[in-house]
Amino acid sequence: MIFLYEKIKDYFLSKGWKELKKEFKYKKELDFIFKDELDSIIFVRILSKDELIDRNSLLENILELFSLKEEVNKIYIAMPKVYVSIIDSSPFEEYGIGIISYDEKKVMEISPAKFFKTKSKIEEEKMEKLISFETLKLKEELDNIKKRLINLEEMVQSLNNEIKILKSQSKPIIETKISKEEIIITPPSSENIPSFLKDNPWIEILAKRGREEKIAV
């Protein structure tokens, strides 16, 4: 058995693949894990005679292996050559599991394994699509902003020109504050007293405000 185990291992190694020491959920002692030249992960299980003959055991293995499809890229089972024609291979095909046959003389691929995208790969591709979409949106927005900026620059330039023209045509029209240097308030004299203060009976009335109460007290 050890001899056959090594023969199967050599078969994959001769492809230029590398064996990985990695743990997976359903990995058994005799399972192999390889990595090929494209960094794809390949999982190989060697099924025993008992596992092949017993249908329940076979299905259980198939389901177990299929559950690995999000973590590995290809799955193979290896079975003795004599069972290849006996065993119904349709479940393997249905689940995309490749079949390797072996005997003392030879190890060969009977049916290829389907390539699975790993979960991380799927997510990676989703992210790439999203990034690509977002990038496109950002690019569109950037183009839009550039156009608006150009319009604004033109508007500012036009306003600047108008201001220059106005400045050259007229003197300033708005003087909002009197310069402080000019403000010196002088008391009204009899000559410059405003007309509404002159001969106004209210002056005398208002001058008594507060005095009337004091007198009353």
Binding site: V156, I178, I185, P194, W202
Partner: protein, 426 residues
Amino acid sequence: MYGMNEEEYKKIYVFGADYGTSDFKYGPIACGEKPEKIENRGYFPDKSSIMYKITGIEKDIVVGKDIPLYLEAREDLSTRLIYPMRNGIIDKNDEKSWRIVKEISKYALESFKPIEEKFKGFYLVASLSAIAPKYMYEKLFEIYDDINKEEKLIRAATIIPQTLAVAISHKVPTCVVVESGHGNTQVCPISRYPIRNAILAINRGGGDANALTAEILKDSGYGDLAKEEIVVRKIKEDLGLVPRDLDKAIEYAKKNPEKFITKYKIPGTRIIVNLDNYSWTRFLIGEYVFNPNHEIFQSYFRRGMPKPSDVKIGDFYFRGMLDFGEAIAESIEKCPVELQPYLYKQILLSGGNFNWNVPEQLKDIAIDSATKIKLLLEEKGIKDTNVILTENPQFSVWRGCIVYGYAVPYDYTWSWDRMEGWLKYY
């Protein structure tokens, strides 16, 4: 701190501030006959706008003559350009309006701040509507206190009713002042002091005449113009007439339309308004201000024109449909009986709502405001009256403020019972 010189100091640095419904008139006594004037409004610029950023000026509010430089989209004006004193009253919680009041006050005081070292702040006399509630006085005094925290501009301040200021500027100690502005009209008897319990307020002013003018324009086919407030106001001022007798005036106008048809060109435009067969309605505009009770106005109310209603604003109850003659009589009748004849002999009409044209060729049919009031009082059996239209009504209040500040002694301190006196800041 104060001495004999304080009284002299006050006379030099008295400063008047009239917070009118449209304009803010301000200036120290040194201004002479006329104050400075800016619109009583403020503009809140859009800080996110490109123009705000380009100008690089960090202002939350713009007041004064610079406002046109900041105005942006027309659709923004109703929210950004605010007239705080449109009806003489600012709501207690109207933060934006109070901020504008502070800014225009500061603007006015800073523009006249003298350089001489002896200047220690103005003696400020501010004037508010006669129907302004007590909280407006409190808010204004607070604003002046805030201004002083930034720069000592106000040594002492007082606030007087606008109607009292009018009486003072016209040198009449005993009178009734009828102040009519955009939103309302106040009747205020004065006998050395305002007789506060006799003040009567009417919920009707120039704005109501504008509304009727707009309806007339719509009926005449000028529906689009009717939506432009400034145009409507101009047409009211230039085409409106006050009839001696409305029924007779309408009859005469319908029989002699050529005397009343006027092609009115709106200044600065190519638009010409011709009321044509509706020219008789010119009399409705003037009549409505003085007496809205004629049955002819009912059709306008039925068609949706707002009817002046009775409403309580602040501490005062405003009557909507009271004619001016009845309002004056009711107000005077709340005063001591001995005083009443003197009050009827001095009725002063103040405010833009009393400025009406009397074309020479129509002087038998159209009359001025003073004559109209006299006639309304005569209808009520009150004959011995003297009604005067104030001269220079736009300056009356400011002038009254100056006289008040000049004359009232510096040591007459503010009392919330009397609502008079100087509130000292430092």
